[in-house]
C-alpha cells in the first residue's frame, strides 16, 4: 500500500485536493457574497444579473465549466493566468484554471446558502435597522450579513464538502489530483486497482468527515439564539 501511495504520488495528489479546495472556497465565498448582495439589493437590474448568474451556473455541469476554462478561456480566448517562463507553467496554469472554474461554479451555491441564511433572520431585525436610520448598505453590513452568515453555516459547510469532492473534476484538464492518479493506476497497475480505489476513497472520507463534524459544532455554537 505504501508502495502504491509512493508510486502514484497519492500524498501529493491529496495535497492538490486540499489546495484546490481552500483556494476555491476563498474565491467562491467572495464571488458568492457579491452575487448574494446583488440579489438582495434594491436595484432590479442587479437582482436579475444575480439571478441569471445563479441559474446559469447552477444548471451547467461542472465538467463542462472545467473543460471550458482550459479549451475555451485558455485555448481560444487566450486567458493565461500563469507565466510561460516558469518551469511549472502547465501545472500552475491548470491549477489556476481549475480554481477559477470551481470558484465560479460554487459561488452560485454560496450565494444561495447566504440567501437562505438571510431568510432565517426575523423581519423585525431589518425593520429595526431601517427605523434607526441605517441605509441599505449599513443594515447589510451591520445587521443582515453577520446574522445571515451565521445562519448559513450548515449550507455553506455542505457546499464546502461538495467542493472538496468536486475538485476531482479538475483531472479532466490534467490536474494531478486523486482522480487523475486513479486513472493512471487503472492504466498502468490494473492489478492494484481495488487497493488504489480503497486508499483514495478513504482519503476523501478522512478529508470530509472532520469538516462535517466541525460544521455541526460550529452551527450550533454560532447559531443566533432566538
Amino acid at each position: 500500500m505504501l508502495e502504491l501511495i509512493q508510486e502514484f504520488e497519492l500524498l501529493a495528489a491529496f495535497w492538490m485536493t486540499i489546495r484546490l479546495t481552500l483556494w476555491s472556497a476563498l474565491f467562491s465565498l467572495i464571488i458568492g457574497t457579491f452575487v448574494a448582495i446583488m440579489r438582495l439589493s434594491p436595484v432590479k437590474v442587479l437582482q436579475s444579473i444575480g439571478t441569471s448568474y445563479v441559474n446559469l451556473l447552477r444548471n451547467t455541469p461542472l465538467t463542462l465549466i472545467i473543460v471550458g476554462t482550459s479549451l475555451v478561456l485558455w485555448g481560444q480566448l487566450g486567458l493565461e493566468p500563469a507565466s510561460r517562463d516558469s518551469s511549472t507553467f502547465i501545472v500552475d496554469l491548470n491549477f489556476r484554471l481549475a480554481v477559477l472554474g470551481l470558484s465560479v461554479y460554487h459561488a452560485a451555491f454560496v450565494c444561495e446558502a447566504i440567501r437562505s441564511g438571510v431568510n432565517t433572520i426575523p423581519l423585525g431585525q431589518a425593520e429595526a435597522a431601517r427605523s434607526i436610520g441605517l441605509t441599505f448598505g449599513q443594515s447589510l453590513r451591520h445587521v443582515i450579513l453577520p446574522q445571515g452568515f451565521r445562519g448559513a453555516i450548515t449550507p455553506l459547510g455542505n457546499t464546502l464538502i461538495a467542493l472538496t469532492k468536486n475538485t476531482t473534476v479538475a483531472s479532466a484538464i490534467g490536474v494531478m489530483d486523486p482522480a487523475y492518479q486513479l486513472d493512471n493506476i487503472a492504466e498502468f497497475r490494473p492489478d492494484v486497482l481495488f487497493l488504489g480505489f480503497a486508499v483514495i476513497a478513504l482519503g476523501f472520507v478522512v478529508l470530509t468527515l472532520p469538516v462535517g463534524l466541525i460544521i455541526s459544532a460550529l452551527s450550533s455554537r454560532l447559531a443566533v439564539k432566538r
Binding site: M38, L40, P42, V43, V45, L46, I49, N55, R58, N59, T60, P61, L62, T63, L64, V67, G68, V72, Q76, L77, G78, F109, E112, A113, R115, S116, V118, N119, I121, P122, L123, A126, F136, S139, L140, T154, P155, L156, N158, T159, I161, A162, K165, N166, V169, S171, A172, A179, L182, D183, A186, L193, F197, I200, A201, F204, V205, L209, G212, S219
Partner: protein, 306 residues
C-alpha cells in the same frame, strides 16, 4: 424574512437616481464582458460561419446532439429510480431494530456520501473493463449509473430518515398503540408520509443527478459533452460545440428545476389546505438544521427566499 422590500426603504428621488446609476454600471460591466468575449471569439475565428453551420444541419443533431441528450436522460432516469428504491431499503435498514443491520447501513451511507462520484465512476468503469462479465459497450453506462446510484441513494436515504424523524411523535405512538410493531409503524405510517413530504427534495435531486451524468465525459460515456467533443473533432469547432452542449444542459436542468418548484408549490398548497403534518417546509427546515442531505447544497439544494 419573507418580503425582500423590508431590507430597504422605498427609494426616494436621490436613492432612485443612485439606483439608476448602479443599474447602468451593472449593465455596462455586463456588456463590456460580453464585448470582450465576442471580440476574442472574433479574433480567434470562432464566429466564422463554417464553425456554426453544422448546427443547422439535421445530421449534426441526429448523430451527435440528440443521442447525447438521450444518453444523459437515460442514465439519469435509471439512476434516480434505482437510487430511490435503494434509498428506501437503506433508510429502513438504518432505522432497523437490529443493531448490525443499522451499523452496516450507516457505514454504507457515510462512506458513499464522502467519496466523490467521479472516483466511483472511474473505479467501476475499469473494474468492469478488466473483469469482463459485462458487454464492453455497457461499461460506461453501468459505471455512470453505479456512481450516481451509490452516492444519491445515500443522500436520499438521509432525506427519508430526516423526514421520518421530523414527523410528530404522535404518529408513531398512535401506530404502536393500535398494536403495530415498530417496523410496521415505520413501513406503513412513517416512511410513506415522509416520502410524500420529501417529494420536492427528491425531484430537485433529479436535477443533481442529471447534471452529474456529465461526469461520464471523463470515462467516455457518450453523453452530451462527449458528443460535443466528437462533433468538434469532426467539424473542428470546439467552442461552438461546447457552447451548444452547455445551452442544452442548462435548458434540461432549468426545465427540471422548474418542475421541482411546481411540485413543491403544490405540496405546500396541499399541506395548507389539508393541514397535513410533516409538510415539506417543516421537514426541509429540519433537514437543513440537522445532518442534512450532505452536499445537496453543493449540487442543487434549491434554497429559496420565502
Amino acid at each position: 424574512m419573507s418580503a425582500q422590500q423590508v431590507l430597504f426603504d422605498a427609494p426616494g428621488p436621490r436613492a432612485r437616481a443612485r439606483h439608476r446609476i448602479l443599474a447602468v454600471i451593472g449593465v455596462l460591466l455586463l456588456l463590456a464582458a460580453l464585448a470582450w468575449v465576442l471580440e476574442r471569439f472574433n479574433a480567434t475565428g470562432q464566429l466564422e460561419a463554417a464553425k456554426w453551420t453544422p448546427f443547422v444541419e439535421w445530421s449534426t443533431w441526429r448523430n451527435y446532439l440528440i443521442p447525447g441528450v438521450i444518453d444523459v436522460l437515460r442514465a439519469a432516469l435509471v439512476a434516480i429510480v434505482i437510487s430511490m428504491v435503494l434509498a428506501l431499503g437503506l433508510a429502513m435498514a438504518r432505522m432497523s431494530d437490529m443493531a448490525p443491520v443499522r451499523w452496516a447501513a450507516s457505514v454504507f451511507v457515510e462512506f458513499f456520501r464522502a467519496v466523490p462520484v467521479l472516483i466511483m465512476m472511474i473505479f467501476t468503469f475499469f473494474f468492469l473493463a478488466y473483469n469482463a462479465g459485462t458487454p464492453d459497450s455497457w461499461n460506461p453506462f453501468l459505471a455512470v449509473v453505479t456512481g450516481l446510484v451509490l452516492y444519491n441513494s445515500s443522500v436520499l436515504c438521509e432525506v427519508i430518515r430526516n423526514g421520518v424523524y421530523s414527523l410528530p411523535a404522535g404518529q408513531r405512538e398512535a401506530g404502536l398503540s393500535i398494536g403495530l410493531s415498530p417496523s410496521q409503524v415505520r413501513r406503513s405510517i412513517q416512511v410513506p408520509q415522509a416520502l410524500t413530504a420529501m417529494l420536492p427534495v427528491i425531484v430537485s435531486q433529479i436535477v443533481v443527478i442529471t447534471k452529474d451524468t456529465a461526469l461520464g465525459y471523463i470515462i467516455l460515456y457518450p453523453e452530451l459533452i462527449t458528443q460535443a467533443r466528437r462533433l468538434a473533432s469532426q467539424e473542428f469547432n470546439v467552442v461552438p460545440a461546447y457552447l451548444v452542449a452547455a445551452v442544452l444542459f442548462i435548458l434540461i436542468n432549468y426545465g427540471l428545476s422548474k418542475v421541482a418548484e411546481r411540485v413543491e408549490a403544490r405540496q405546500r398548497r396541499k399541506a395548507h389546505t389539508a393541514g397535513a403534518i410533516g409538510s415539506a417546509d417543516a421537514i426541509r427546515a429540519e433537514a437543513r438544521g440537522g445532518r442534512a442531505p450532505d452536499d445537496a447544497a453543493g449540487d442543487g439544494d434549491d434554497v429559496e427566499v420565502r
